[in-house]
């Protein structure tokens, strides 16, 4: 799918880049171009307390209001102040290997994960990767080095679609595994039991994680643009059913919207960042929009 403007990487070009690192770099750069200022992705919205200023601290962290009141220099301490530990959980189940556009959801997710990992490590945060389908296939704990970034990117490039998905079970397992508080970035199509997924995501929150969900769907899944009668084959189960899309489209779209709305509302209630991402949307736009969102929340 062609990106909306020249500033975005065309997925065709993206796919021809030598490796994910290059792609991620370019994506980030593109995101920065649209954003116009350095993103402070590492700032958590969780303000913890103040500490005394010591020379060398970033003046931007000085709480000037407190100085105005007390005439003393204090810096804000955020939860992730030390270093954000973000774990990118990428769904690589069979359903993610679907895409009628230029990119499959898995490819899109991989590029998104790569971009986020690059961004995090670039700003001295730590990023980790978990790749799962019905079970965890890859677990790379969060680290902050460039070597680690390459490891993540390499792992992303090696991902192959698995069988069925089991988001709740994997999330519950990770919630119990990841001890230190951090950021959980889930990239998945969430085609699983919604209640169970939300339960698992709340498990992360219970562990004091900041959860961000990138609900990745293909345009076809949202629009069902097909005209002719076809045998639709579910990727994960292989079940086939002959469907006349033309006569069913409106019902399907309402059901999908209902599904997405349900997830959005549930995430909203649970204070989870929910982002419905179309694979036709340029990745740079996705990242940029999320940066803006995070910035608004941080104020």
């Amino acid at each position: 799918m062609k990106s909306g403007g020249s500033r975005f990487l065309d997925p065709d070009i993206l796919s021809r880049l030598p490796n994910l690192e290059v792609a991620a770099r370019k994506l980030v750069k593109g995101a920065f171009v649209g954003y116009h200022k350095s993103p402070d992705f590492g700032y958590s919205v969780e303000f913890v307390d103040h500490r005394d200023y010591v020379p060398g601290d970033d003046l931007r962290t000085v709480d000037w209001r407190v100085w105005a009141r007390k005439d003393k220099y204090y810096v804000k301490r955020f939860e992730m102040e030390a270093q954000l530990k973000a774990t990118i959980i990428l769904d690589s189940s069979k359903s993610m290997d679907f895409g009628d556009g230029k990119l499959t959801k898995l490819q899109f997710g991989s590029y998104l994960a790569a971009t986020l990992a690059y961004l995090l490590i670039h700003q001295n945060d730590m990023a980790g990767l978990v790749n799962f389908d019905s079970q965890i296939r890859t677990y790379i704990p969060p680290r902050g080095s460039r070597q680690h970034l390459r490891l993540i990117l390499h792992a992303l490039s090696q991902i192959t679609p698995g069988p069925a998905t089991n988001v709740p079970a994997v999330c519950h397992h990770l919630a119990g595994t990841i001890k230190s508080r951090g950021m959980i970035i889930l990239i998945s199509d969430l085609l699983d039991d919604t209640e169970k997924i939300m339960h698992a995501l709340r498990h992360f929150q219970h562990q004091k994680h900041d959860v961000i969900v990138f609900h990745t769907l293909d345009d076809s899944e949202l629009e069902l643009p097909y005209q002719e009668l076809a045998n639709f084959r579910e990727l994960e189960t292989g079940t086939r059913v002959a469907v006349d899309p033309a006569s069913f489209r409106s019902t399907y779209k309402s059901r999908v919207n209902e599904f997405c709305s349900g997830l959005r509302e549930a995430c909203l209630k649970s204070n989870i960042d929910y982002n419905l991402v179309r694979t036709s949307t340029p990745i740079e736009t996705v990242v940029t929009n999320y940066f803006q969102f995070r910035s608004r929340r941080a104020r």
């Binding site: 959801k105 076809s220 639709f232 059913v241 899309p245």
Partner: protein, 778 residues
């Protein structure tokens, strides 16, 4: 069910096309990998099932549409009875003579029989049918003993006789037609199994009855033949319509198979067929072309003298539409002599030519049977090529001349001039008017008179009693006497005979008189005035007797003074003519005049003919019958009737007859030719196969009907115009009768219904295949 256009049945294979497309299309439904089917659930399954059902229904509709289209184009027709509904069909078959014409090597009647058989074959077992012929069958078919019993049942009271034609088993022959067929039933018990006999009836048409016995109808069809009688289509159609109206069946149809000759369709069809459906099948006669036929033959007189040559005339007519080729008229008369031939030039269409031909009167029979025949190469219609006629033969009368006055000189004999008149000398060019013998009066008593027909007494004076009785008996038996008084005869002597037709009065010898008037109404004087003319007045005399005719006598001629010159009377069965003057020159000048010869010959011929009325019957047309009185002396004899098959071979075909007390009747003559109605003396057992010697026979000449000679046919448009609109259809006979018989039964419109059904299927398929507009634009 049958199909009219079977080629379209091959198109039924096209019904597989939608199925093939469906199978191919089904296999090529794209398989689309999709992320999840969770949002499809029941709705989509129902939608799928519904869609599949619709697809299958569309498939069935399309297959059914193609099948219906091909079936409709193949024009099916259903001719089996639908439930209780059955049909009644009457086939009117034209077997008139015009159907004897040939096309493609077969007669039109043969083609018509094929068409009728095809109709019968198309009927269902429960359909009822009957076959009527427009003309009476020429011969009764031959039946076995069992078949005769059935036929008798069908005839039911019609006069019927039993003949064993061509079979010499005489003991079972009952030619007499009787309404009560009990005698036939009795005879049948004696009839050997396996023999066949002919049933002859005055009216051979059996009572009309619709029957399901198609096999019997087919058999009667196979036995049917072309008739010599002109067809009466109007009458037959009316009878057929009347028969059909007795049926309450759903299908009632008249099927008329004919060449539709114009002469048979002068009038409008009978009103009785109104409301009935008619299928007219034309056997497509060949073009009229040229048809020479004999319209008539005639002879100048009913009788002619033996040895004489008369001139007959024949009317040859070209009934066709093209000029004829040269032709030959052949006339065969009697049983002697060669036929005479006359070459004729081409005759224009519609024109007739009068042709004269000689008829040598050379027959050994009293009635000379003649046949004229016109022959032209490639004449398509032989029915009217013959004409049968008769000519009465007057044989020289056996005459005995009795000389009343002996004379040594031949010329002195009273019979001298009479003999010369009757038997002229050789070289005179005249034929013998009589077979004349002479004798003296003295020898009369010893003479056997039975062999003579006429006795001429010339100059006979007194007769003794024996002579008088002999002469009286001679005349009473039907013979004739001609009396010329002699010069020496006296009135008393003549009156003493007692049987003269007039009282003989005084003799006048000085007054000169001549024959002034003759009674042309009398048969004795017929034709004399025409032949003699004014010469009759040359018969003059100065010596004659005054005659006073008796009450029952007839004056044949008068002298110029009004006195009778010739008087005729009767003696028993015979006749006697008395002349007022003698036959010798010594008595009068009569013998010296040429008119005398004519007068004497005429008188002898008249006196020599049979006293009974002429047996010559006027000519008949086929279909007419004839009758004759039975002579009293033969009343106890055996009647018989024949058709002359071959005069040369003297071959006769015995026929049935009917009899009343005094009349013998020949039922309708069904073919042209010569017929004989005879009374055989004595009683004969069984069928008389030929006329026997001594029988009294009356010939009847039967000729064709000229109505059949004009061969032009009614055009289809003219035929359709005759019948009420929509009630009739006209078809041409074809060896493949299937398309023609499509209109035979209800269901001929089935193909229309099927095509209409196909159209409905098409509309339904189109509606079902129509989809709501796509929402993909969203």
């Amino acid at each position: 069910m049958s199909f009219l256009s079977t080629a379209f049945l091959y198109g039924l294979a096209a019904a597989a096309i939608p199925l093939v497309i469906h199978l191919i299309h089904k296999q090529r439904y794209p398989e689309r990998a999709f992320t999840t089917l969770r949002f499809f659930d029941k709705t989509i399954k129902n939608n799928t099932i519904q869609r599949r059902l619709i697809d299958k229904l569309l498939l069935l509709l399309r297959i059914a549409l193609l099948i219906a289209l091909m079936l409709g184009l193949a024009r099916p027709f259903w001719n089996a009875p639908l439930g209780e509904q059955r049909g009644s069909f009457v086939i009117v078959l034209d077997n008139s003579p015009s159907m004897s014409r040939e096309r493609d090597g077969k007669t039109l009647f043969a083609h018509a029989k094929l068409a009728a058989a095809a109709v019968l074959a198309k009927l269902a077992a429960s359909d009822r049918a009957e076959i009527l012929f427009t003309s009476t069958q020429p011969q009764a078919p031959l039946f076995t003993r069992e078949e005769i019993a059935d036929e008798l049942f069908l005839r039911q009271g019609q006069p019927t006789g039993l003949l064993l034609t061509g079979d010499k088993g005489m003991d079972l022959a009952l030619p007499e037609l009787r309404a009560d067929s009990a005698h036939i039933h009795t005879a049948l018990k004696k009839m050997p199994s396996g023999k066949k006999a002919a049933l002859a009836g005055f009216d051979t048409s059996a009572p009309l009855q619709l029957t399901c016995d198609h096999a019997r109808l087919l058999q009667s069809l196979q036995h049917s033949r072309i008739s010599a009688l002109p067809g009466n289509i109007q009458h037959t159609l009316a009878a057929a319509a009347q028969l059909l109206r007795t049926s309450q069946d759903g299908d009632r149809k008249l099927i008329l198979i004919s060449d539709f000759q114009k002469s048979e369709w002068r009038n409008e069809p009978p009103a009785s067929i109104a409301g009935l459906s008619l299928l007219a099948i034309s056997v497509e006669p060949p073009a009229a072309g040229t048809n020479l036929g004999l319209e008539n033959c005639s002879v100048p007189a009913r009788e002619a003298d033996f040895g004489q040559t008369v001139v007959g005339t024949a009317t040859v007519k070209n009934y066709g539409s093209h000029i004829s080729d040269a032709s030959t008229l052949t006339v065969a008369c009697g049983d002697r002599g060669k036929p005479s031939e006359v070459k004729l030039p081409p005759i224009q269409p519609g024109s007739a030519m009068l042709v004269s031909f000689p008829i040598p009167v050379m027959s050994s029979e009293r009635n000379m049977l003649c046949q004229a025949r016109i022959a032209m190469p490639a004449d398509p219609f032989a029915y009217d090529d013959n004409w049968y006629f008769q000519l009465g033969v007057r044989f020289p009368v056996a005459t005995l001349l009795v000389n009343g006055v002996p004379s040594e000189n031949a010329a002195g004999r009273e019979t001298f001039f009479l003999a010369n008149a009757l038997v002229p000398r050789a070289g005179t060019g005249q034929s013998n008017a009589a077979d004349a013998r002479e004798c003296e009066l003295a020898d009369l008593k010893d003479r056997r008179l039975a062999e003579f027909g006429v006795l001429i007494l010339a100059g006979v004076p007194a007769l003794d009693a024996e002579a008088r009785e002999k002469i009286r008996q001679f005349a009473s038996d039907g013979k004739s006497v001609l009396v010329f008084p002699g010069a020496n005869s006296t009135a008393d002597e003549c009156n003493a005979w007692g049987f003269l037709p007039a009282q003989v009065g005084e003799k006048k010898s000085q007054s000169f008189v001549y024959l002034k008037s003759i009674n042309e109404k009398s048969a004795a004087m017929a034709g004399i005035q025409e032949r003699v003319g004014a010469g009759i007045h040359s018969l003059s005399t100065s010596s004659r007797f005054m005659l006073d005719p008796a009450a029952q006598s007839t004056v044949l001629a008068r002298f110029s003074d009004g006195s009778p010159a010739l008087v005729e009377g009767r003696i028993g069965k015979g006749r006697i003519v008395l002349a007022a003057t003698g036959a010798h020159a010594s008595a009068s000048d009569w013998p010296l005049r040429p008119a005398f010869v004519i007068l004497v010959r005429n008188l002898v011929k008249y006196l020599g003919t049979d006293a009974l009325p002429s047996t010559l019957q006027p000519e008949r047309t086929v279909g007419e019958g004839a009758s004759t009185f039975i002579p009293r002396e033969l009343a106890a004899g055996t009647p018989a009737a024949f058709r002359l098959v071959s005069a040369a071979a003297a071959s006769y075909e015995p026929l049935a007859w009917m009899r009343t007390d005094r009349a013998l009747i020949l039922p309708s003559a069904t073919t042209e030719g010569h017929y004989l109605i005879t009374m055989q003396p004595g009683v004969s057992e069984g069928v008389v196969l030929e006329p026997k010697v001594g029988c009294s026979s009356v010939p009847v000449s039967v000729n064709h009907s000229a109505r059949e000679s004009t061969l032009d046919s009614v055009t289809d448009d003219e035929l359709m115009a005759m019948f009420p609109a929509g009630s009739a259809s006209v078809q041409k006979f074809n060896s493949d009768m299937t398309p023609i018989l499509a209109d035979l039964r209800t269901g001929r419109d089935v193909w229309r219904y099927i095509l209409f059904a196909a159209l409905c299927l098409l509309i339904l398929e189109s509606l079902l295949a129509w989809r709501t507009p796509s929402e993909a634009a969203n």
